[in-house]
Point group: C2
Chain length 406, copies 2
C-alpha cells in the first residue's frame, strides 16, 4: 500500500481525492499497488465530509510520518509550498504538484533534490491542466531537438477571445460575463495580463531546451488591449486572435514571449476554442505535434495530478530522469525576432498610404466599411526593433498585433 | 554505451539511422548513455552508403552478439518479425518496433515475454507514426478509465477524403493522384478498405481497456463507396467525412469499428486534414484529450522508434509496466450500438417522404439543387440492427454513412 498526503482541500485537492476514490481499482492496477489517502491537510474544517476522518491541520503530522510515501500539493503560490516541497523531498517523500508558480521558480532545485534522494518531483498538472504535456516532453519527444513550442495555455483568456470572436462583443463585456460564470477571477490580472501563461511557457521551454528559462526574462503582453474592431479586421483577413505562450530556437538563439497573435485556419491551434488549451510542439525530426484538451477544471487537473501519483508509485525507489538544469538559458532580446505585424492606423487610406509605404515598405492594406476614419495594414516580415522604429515615424497607430506564420 | 541493431534498411529503418546520427548528442543526454548502431540487417547491399560498415545479412550475427542491447525492427509483416522479436527478447534484448501487424497479433505474448526477462517490448511508432499516443495511454492517462477512443489513424485515406472534400473530386481520381504522389500504394487495399486502421484501433483499444482486442473481431468498412455527391450533402449539412477507428465502452459493453463517419466542426478531429492523424481519447475524469501530428513518413515515424530506443536505454534493466493482458476482450455486436445515420435514396422527396417517415420515424430531409432524382435524410438515433431492418423496407438506398455525435 502506498500512502498519500494531500495538501490543500480546495478545488484541485478535493478533485484528487474524488479521482482516487472514483477510479480506485484501475488506479491500483496501473500503479501496481493500492493508493491510500492517509492525510488531507487544510486549515479549514469540513464537518460532515468524509475527508474529516483523515483531515489534519498541521503539516508536521505528515512530514514526521514515515509511512507517507507521496505528498500531493494543490495549494498554489510559493509560500509555504516551497518549504513543504523541500521538506517532503528531504524526508524521502515524492512530491506531486499542480503549482505552476512553485515549478517555474524552483523547478531545477527541487528536481535536483528529488534526484539526490532517489525520489520524484512531478508536475504534469502545472501546465495544460489535464493535457498530457510534461510527460510527453520529458519521455516521448526524446529523439528530437525541440525547435519551437506554441501554446494556448490559459483557458480564461481563450474563453474571452473566443467569445469576442464568435459574438462580436468587447473585452469588458466578456470579462464581466466570464467573471459571473466563474471562468475568470474577480482580480483577473494573472490571466488577462498573461502572467499565468508566462509561467507555463517558462516551464515547457525549460523542459524542451534542458536549461532553466526564468519566467521573469520572458516578454509578456496580455489581451486587455484587444478590441472587437481588431476581431472584425481579423475575420476579414481569415484570421483569429489567440494569446500564445511561445518559445523558439533560431540557430543558436532562443526567444520566448507571451502575446496575442493573429493566426489563420491552417494553424492547428486555430480551432482550440473556449476554455480549452492546445500546445503545438515542433521537433527537428518529428515535425509538428499538438496536444489538446481541458487546460483547467477540477477533474481534468486532478486527473493529471493523480497520473503523477501513479508514476511516483511505480517509481517509488527510482528517480525518473528529467532534464532541466539549473543553468540559466539566456534568451535573446525579442527585438531581434522577426515576424509580420497587423497595424490599425487613424485617417484616410488614400491620403496616408504613400506615407505608410515609405516607412514600412510593401504593406498589404485592409479596410472595413463600418470603420470609416481608420484602416489596417500588414507589414512585411521585420524585426520587433525595426517595427518599433518604424512605428515612431507614423502618427495615429491604434493597435498592433503580431502575426503567426504557419 | 548502448548497442543497437536495426532490422530493415527501408524507409523507416534508414530514418532511424538518420535520426540517431542527426541528434546523437541530445539523444545520448536523454538516454543517459551513448547509443551506438552496431548492426543494420538487410538482405540488400548498399554500396557507397555509410551503413555498409555495419551492414549484415544474417540475423544470427545479431542474436548471438551479447553486446547488442536493443533490437529495432522496421520491416513490417509478422514473418520473420515475430520470430526475430521472440528470439531477441528471449536472449535478453529489448525490442522496439513500428510494426502494427506484429503488435496487433502478438502484443500480449511479446509483452509478457519482455516482462519475464526484465526487458522491454516497445511500439510507439506502430500507431499514429510520430504522434506520442502509446506512451501517453500507458503512462499519462493512468488516473482515468478510458471510455472512448476515436482516431483518424490512416494518412492515405485521410489525404483522399480531404482532397475529395476540398476539391469536389471523385474517389478514383484522387486515389490515382495519391498513388502518383506516393501517398497510396499501388495495391491500396490495406489503406482504403480500413485494414490498417483496424489493426491500429485494436492496439489502442487493448492498451486503453487492458485486455486483448482481436483485430479480426472488429467490424471494418473502408472508404471506397464514398462519392463526391456524399461530400456535397455533407457540406450542406456542415459536416465532413472522416474514416474513424473507434472503440467505446458503454456501461459494461465494448464496441469497436472502423468506418467512415460524418462529423461537424465541433469535433476536434474535423480539422485534422491531409496525411495528418489525430486521436481523441475520452477519459471518465479527464474528459477529451486529442493528440495530433504526422501519422506516417520516414522521419516522424523514426522519431517515435528512436524515442522507444531512448526509453529502452533508460530502462535497460527494468521492465516498463504495460497493461495489456492476453485475456480476450469480448466485443459486443455493433448491431447493438446506437447512432444516427445519413441516407441517400432515389426518387422524389415529396412523393417518398411519407413512406420514409413510416419506416425510419422522424427524419430530417436534405436535398441538393443539382441532384434532382434523389434526396437525403438523417435518421433519429437507432441501433445498427434497427437501421438494417428499416433499410430493407425502403427501395433505392444509394448510400448510408454513420453520423458521429460530439
Amino acid at each position: 500500500m502506498i500512502n498519500v498526503a494531500v495538501l490543500g482541500y480546495g478545488t484541485v485537492g478535493s478533485g484528487v481525492v474524488e479521482v482516487l476514490n472514483t477510479n480506485k481499482e484501475s488506479i491500483a492496477k496501473r500503479a501496481g499497488d493500492e493508493i491510500n489517502i492517509k492525510y488531507v491537510l487544510d486549515l479549514r474544517d469540513f464537518p460532515g465530509d468524509p475527508v474529516e476522518k483523515v483531515l489534519v491541520h498541521d503539516f508536521d503530522t505528515i512530514i514526521n510520518d514515515d509511512e507517507v510515501d507521496i505528498v500531493v500539493e494543490a495549494m498554489g503560490g510559493t509560500n509555504p509550498a516551497y518549504k513543504f516541497a523541500k521538506a517532503s523531498l528531504e524526508r524521502g517523500k515524492s512530491y506531486c504538484t499542480s503549482n505552476k508558480e512553485l515549478v517555474a521558480k524552483y523547478g531545477p532545485e527541487l528536481l535536483e533534490l528529488a534526484k539526490s534522494k532517489g525520489k520524484n518531483f512531478l508536475f504534469e498538472a502545472s501546465v495544460g491542466g489535464g493535457i498530457p504535456i510534461i510527460r510527453p516532453l520529458n519521455q516521448s519527444l526524446t529523439a528530437d531537438e525541440i525547435m519551437e513550442i506554441t501554446g494556448i495555455l490559459n483557458g480564461t483568456t481563450n474563453y474571452i477571445l473566443t467569445k469576442m470572436s464568435k459574438e462580436g462583443l468587447d473585452f469588458d463585456t466578456v470579462l464581466k460575463e466570464a467573471q459571473d460564470l466563474g471562468y475568470a477571477e474577480k482580480n483577473p490580472e494573472a490571466d488577462v495580463e498573461g502572467y499565468d501563461a508566462c509561467r507555463k511557457i517558462a516551464i515547457l521551454s525549460s523542459l524542451a531546451y534542458g536549461e532553466h528559462v526564468d519566467y521573469e526574462d520572458i516578454y509578456t503582453e496580455g489581451i486587455t488591449k484587444i478590441t472587437d474592431a481588431d476581431f472584425k479586421y481579423a475575420m476579414k483577413l481569415g484570421y483569429t486572435i489567440k494569446l500564445f505562450g511561445k518559445s523558439k530556437r533560431v540557430d543558436d538563439k532562443f526567444y520566448a514571449m507571451v502575446a496575442p497573435f493573429m493566426i489563420n485556419s491552417d494553424n492547428p491551434l486555430y480551432s482550440v476554442n473556449g476554455v480549452l488549451n492546445g500546445i503545438l510542439v515542433k521537433g527537428n525530426v518529428i515535425g509538428d505535434v499538438m496536444f489538446y484538451g481541458a487546460g483547467a477544471g477540477k477533474l481534468p487537473t486532478a486527473s493529471a495530478v493523480v497520473a503523477d501519483v501513479v508514476d511516483a508509485a511505480k517509481h517509488i525507489k527510482t528517480n525518473i530522469m528529467t532534464i532541466w538544469s539549473s543553468k540559466k538559458l539566456v534568451l535573446d532580446d525579442i527585438k531581434n525576432s522577426r515576424k509580420q505585424f497587423f497595424v490599425r492606423v487613424e485617417g484616410d487610406k488614400a491620403a496616408r498610404l504613400e506615407e505608410i509605404k515609405n516607412v514600412f515598405g510593401d504593406v498589404t492594406v485592409i479596410s472595413l466599411e463600418e470603420l470609416k476614419d481608420e484602416f489596417g495594414f500588414i507589414t512585411p516580415v521585420m524585426s520587433e526593433a525595426e517595427y518599433e522604429a518604424a512605428s515612431l515615424e507614423v502618427s495615429g497607430i491604434k493597435t498592433r498585433i503580431r502575426i503567426e506564420s504557419v
